[in-house]
């Protein structure tokens, strides 16, 4: 049982989780409508992982995400408008339209360009952490990856480096039981593909209910403290579940219905909402107000993004090499 958070914190977390949920729902809808280009991997159902892990990072700390980045980006503070503009390929997108749905991020708020190569962000995060260490900064980086990524060579090499150099990096596995359509049970003999392998590097690990934002946040607090004080990396495995398909094209017909039901019942956003009200941290009205504000913000962001200008086509030829600021 987690200690009751203070009200402001609790509502802050709720606000972010609800923002992610509603953002993903809207994006889903925009894809259905056929107005959004490309494809998308959504984080609906995994909101507590992003918010719990990132809520206490400083802006100058960093976060490295994956092909499923929206929740992480919003939790780290990438602006809603710039996310939405990016999704539409607009010039005001957080990557000026050059990144896209799998590459959102904004270094200004500590969100690295998201990485669409499974495992590709893991060694990069180690490098970021190494830079902190060399520059004698007390920053930390949180690096997300999926259960499927734990079978990549990049996982192994990154964990080992983080361990031997005691890097201030927190490796967070969001174990949603599937890599695309494949159950982790058939591609790995471990019950806990990230945490059970931590011993192979002598890295401390934790296994946490990834749908309980407070539990996630507590684990984050411990790991951040370790990292900031020079004690090195932590591996955190969060048990969670995505509500939708792997990507836009996935009708998601490979998951047992009872498994889905179990997890849908354990909805991180809804449960936290209930928790807030049951524990009198917020009234129905307060929560509703938060939700309504988010809806309005999203409406506005969509409206804005849809009318925002596309990049000048010549800009396709810039930024291949750095052009200074």
């Amino acid at each position: 049982m987690s200690k009751l958070p203070d009200k402001e914190r609790a509502l802050g977390m709720y606000q972010r989780m609800s923002l992610i949920r509603k953002y993903e729902e809207r994006i889903y809808y925009l894809f259905l409508e056929g107005i959004m280009p490309g494809t998308i991997h959504q984080s609906t159902g995994q909101e507590a992982c992003a918010v719990g892990m990132l809520y206490d990072l400083r802006t100058d700390d960093h976060m490295a995400s994956t092909h499923r980045p929206a929740g992480h980006d919003l939790a780290k503070g990438v602006s809603l408008k710039s996310m939405m503009c990016e999704m539409f390929g607009k010039d005001e997108g957080c990557c000026r339209g050059k990144g896209g749905a799998m590459h959102t991020g904004d270094i200004e708020v500590g969100a690295l360009v998201a990485n669409a190569i499974v495992g590709g962000n893991l060694p990069i995060a180690a490098g970021v952490a190494l830079a902190y260490k060399m520059q004698k900064k007390d920053n930390v980086i949180v690096c997300f990856f999926g259960d499927g990524a734990t079978n990549e060579g990049a996982f192994h090499e990154s964990m080992n480096a983080a361990a031997i150099w005691k890097l201030p990096v927190i490796y967070v596995c969001e174990n949603n039981l599937y890599s695309a359509t494949t159950s982790i049970a058939i591609t790995c003999n471990m019950q806990n593909p990230a945490a059970d392998r931590a011993v192979a590097y002598a890295i401390p690990s934790e296994i946490v209910d990834g749908n309980d934002v407070l539990k996630v946040n507590e684990a984050a607090t411990r790991a951040i403290k370790r990292a900031r004080s020079g004690e090195g990396p932590t591996i955190i495995e969060l048990k969670t579940y995505r509500h939708g398909g792997h990507s836009r094209n996935d009708a998601c017909q490979y998951r047992p219905k009872d498994e889905e039901k179990h997890w849908f019942d354990h909805d991180p956003v809804k449960n936290f909402r209930d928790y807030l009200i049951t524990n009198k941290l917020a009234t129905e009205e307060e929560v509703e107000k938060i939700d309504n504000n988010i809806e309005a913000d999203i409406d506005e962001a969509v409206e804005y993004a849809q009318h925002a200008p596309f990049p000048q086509i010549e800009s396709a030829l810039t930024d291949v090499y750095w052009e200074g600021k």
């Binding site: 339209g97 896209g100 499927g148 990549e152 890599s179 094209n249």
Partner: protein, 337 residues
């Protein structure tokens, strides 16, 4: 005859070869999970049902292993047909392809060989820089590999069957917008055509002349062949007659067909979606300037993706990838030299 898209033609090629030869098997991430997609583009969907999940392996996300397992099993007589979801991930298995698969026969003094097929979906489709590349240029540069790029359903079936029977590592570039499968992508081209139901193979190193013409020889592969054909239609109305050649396989490359065409036209345009610098077009361009420069009445023209990572925004992506408009414009200029 059956009406098949490239995706279905590839599937039927793989299935027929698996029926014919018990040593053929296929593998990849999400290769064929019941209820799943069948790779990323439906090609292998349903194969598990027919052949069982010992011959249709759903692998972990471990590209080094995926490629290495192909090399090892191929040396033992198996004929693996692997799938990579997106060609961009070839870089994750590059050592196994370039240092191992391509060199094993040679390093052994010809004692072992590596009959494996690696299928790599390629091309830009609004997914951003890491899911968009055309990678031919990297692999045509590797002695020991063969590189093919079917652009029609007929070719897809015949070349895939040939690839599976080939005794060497073969990379198959399949264009995402040409699969022609049900999950329609924006700008996708339907590739559904009549494909023989019986067994046939297409020999490597034989280009196809997709359209005859007398003024300009256009050599273009995959999606760009379609764009070249569209451009040729427009140009025809202006009195410019284009011969459009699809090389179909890049290693081995059918120079003869290009040369024969140049003897008529004296003008060469190369079009590919792979980027300009050191793409396969550079090889063709230089080769012609080495061996048949006196056939040329005008400078060679290469129309290729600009040398940038592929941008996400549709307006930028459309600009970077050669369009029929760009081809038309370059052709007009070329006729004025």
């Amino acid at each position: 005859m059956a009406l098949l898209s490239i995706a279905d033609a590839l599937k039927s090629a793989i299935a027929e070869e698996m029926r014919r030869d018990p040593l053929v098997f296929c593998l990849g991430e999400d290769e064929d999970i019941p209820g799943g997609m069948g790779g990323a583009f439906t090609v292998t969907k349903g194969l598990g049902d027919e052949f069982g999940y010992e011959r249709v392996l759903n692998t972990p996300i471990s590209e080094i292993m995926l490629a290495g397992v192909c090399v090892g099993s191929a040396m033992m007589g198996m004929r693996p047909v692997a799938d990579l979801q997106y060609g961009d991930f070839l870089f994750c298995m590059m050592d196994q392809l370039v240092n191992q698969a391509a060199k094993m026969c040679y390093m052994s003094g010809g004692k072992v060989h590596v009959p494996m097929v690696m299928r790599a979906p390629c091309g830009a489709s609004n997914r951003g820089a890491q899911h968009a590349q055309s990678l031919e240029g990297f692999f045509t540069h590797v002695p020991g590999l063969k590189v093919i790029c079917p652009s029609t359903a007929y070719d897809a079936k015949g070349l895939m069957k040939q690839a599976i029977r080939d005794d060497n590592p073969v990379l198959v570039f399949e264009h995402k917008l040409l699969y022609g499968s049900k999950r329609k992508e924006k700008d996708a081209i339907s590739t559904v055509t009549e494909v023989p139901e019986d067994d046939y193979v297409i020999e490597f190193g034989k280009a196809a002349i997709r359209r005859e013409g007398k003024d300009i020889t256009i050599v273009a592969n995959l999606l760009m062949n379609y764009k070249a054909l569209e451009a040729a239609q427009i140009l025809e109305q202006e009195g410019i007659s284009c011969e459009v050649i699809d090389p179909r396989t890049l290693v081995p490359f059918d120079y003869d067909t290009v040369v024969a065409s140049l003897e008529k036209t004296g003008r060469l345009m190369i079009v590919h979606e792979d980027n300009y610098n050191c793409g396969w077009g550079a090889q063709l361009g230089s080769w012609i300037a080495e061996h048949h420069i006196f056939l040329l009445d005008a400078p060679i023209v290469r129309v290729a993706a600009y040398d940038v990572p592929i941008p996400f925004s549709p307006v930028l992506e459309n600009y970077v990838i050669p369009s029929k408009e760009r081809i038309v414009e370059e052709a007009r200029k070329l006729m004025k030299v």
